[in-house]
Symmetry: C2
């Protein structure tokens, strides 16, 4: 598999439990595509701020959509240093010892400079955000007006400096603990999509969105 940008940088190198790390593009992209949201870290007055954000991916670019853009980018046309982290929780891991309790998860960290996009790139970014969880929804919805486009900020973050971290096994207890009379194992965690609820003001003759109908398949 391909490496994204050569060896991991000082920022993306996984320091703790490096055997859980991956740096190849295929792994990084697959985790990003499976995550519903990300958490974006920025500096505000030299303190860290972390905000949940919707996002989408197009090739080797992430597009971020949310309040960070409008709040923090005023006057920062050159972009802003960000750390984008997406985490999927796959399971709870119960060891005999409290010490070895853990989670199964897949996470990706992308660091870099996020810059605002405009024009066609902004449309590409918004489409990626709307289609991220629900592919095909952009083509069903009313496109943004010029006024809406002006009210929307979209940032592009290249996926150049990135790492993935994965844990995907049962509990690993110390040998001397295995015979303790304590249950050990794992419990899978999966996000479940419930039954679609039509808007209160929806015309009852309108059929469910095909894109929404494909959710989770």
């Amino acid at each position: 598999m391909e490496t994204i940008a050569g060896p991991p940088s000082a920022f993306t190198r996984v320091r703790r439990l490096p055997e859980r790390a991956a740096y190849d593009e295929e792994t990084v992209h697959a985790i990003l595509d499976a995550a519903m949201i990300g958490h974006v870290g920025v500096l505000r007055e030299n303190r860290p701020v972390v905000i949940p954000m919707l996002f989408g991916r197009v090739g080797r670019d992430l597009f971020l959509h949310g309040s960070v853009a409008s709040q923090l980018l005023r006057g920062l046309a050159g972009g802003i240093d960000v750390c984008f982290t997406a985490t999927l929780i796959d399971g709870l891991v119960y060891a005999r010892s409290a010490f070895h309790h853990s989670m199964n998860y897949r996470s990706v960290v992308v660091v870099g400079v996020a810059t605002p996009v405009d024009g066609d790139d902004k449309v590409v970014g918004l489409r990626a955000v709307v289609d991220h969880i629900t592919p095909g929804r952009w083509d069903e919805a009313r496109r943004p007006s010029d006024a809406e486009m002006r009210q929307t900020a979209v940032l592009r973050l290249p996926i150049d400096e990135a790492s993935a971290k994965i844990r995907a096994t049962g509990p690993v207890d110390d040998a001397e603990d295995v015979d303790l009379p304590i249950w050990a194992g794992q419990v899978p965690v999966v996000p479940h999509f419930g039954t679609p609820v039509p808007a209160a003001d929806l015309n009852g003759a309108i059929a469910l969105s095909p894109a929404v109908g494909r959710l989770g398949r």
Copy 2:
């Protein structure tokens, strides 16, 4: 309901869509208790880094457990500036317009100085982390040895400067879009706990953990 620490600070005041904000302790604590993990932002060489972390709450303190502690606290006995954000995704919201697509969510942001804890406080913190998703599990598991305690870093972050943000409604379309022939509505998202899987080396005579059996009830 009680306010945590007076009015919101410049850091925790919700700037965008302030009608979604809440600052009372009951709301903040309930969201923290329902979240499985948090994302912690810190500065490393003056750049933001965001890392997923396990955590627990005891009263007005959060306890954080994970690699941030060991990596970033060396030599920082005075603590470290952090932003801890926990987000629950409750639903996907589909408007007629692409512009009004959204999510239903509950999120909490806590900012402050996280400091390492030791001794009895460390035991309290570890117990909170283990019991956070699975109340009662700490009492079932083997307690940490002295050596394990030394290998574990736990940070305490007071929940003094915090805010919550909640979206919990269907789509809100512009009036002129309501009659468009486009499906609009929401899809609930709920984390689903699967069937517990015993460890490969578990003695088959050992019954399922009662704490694990109560998950999700």
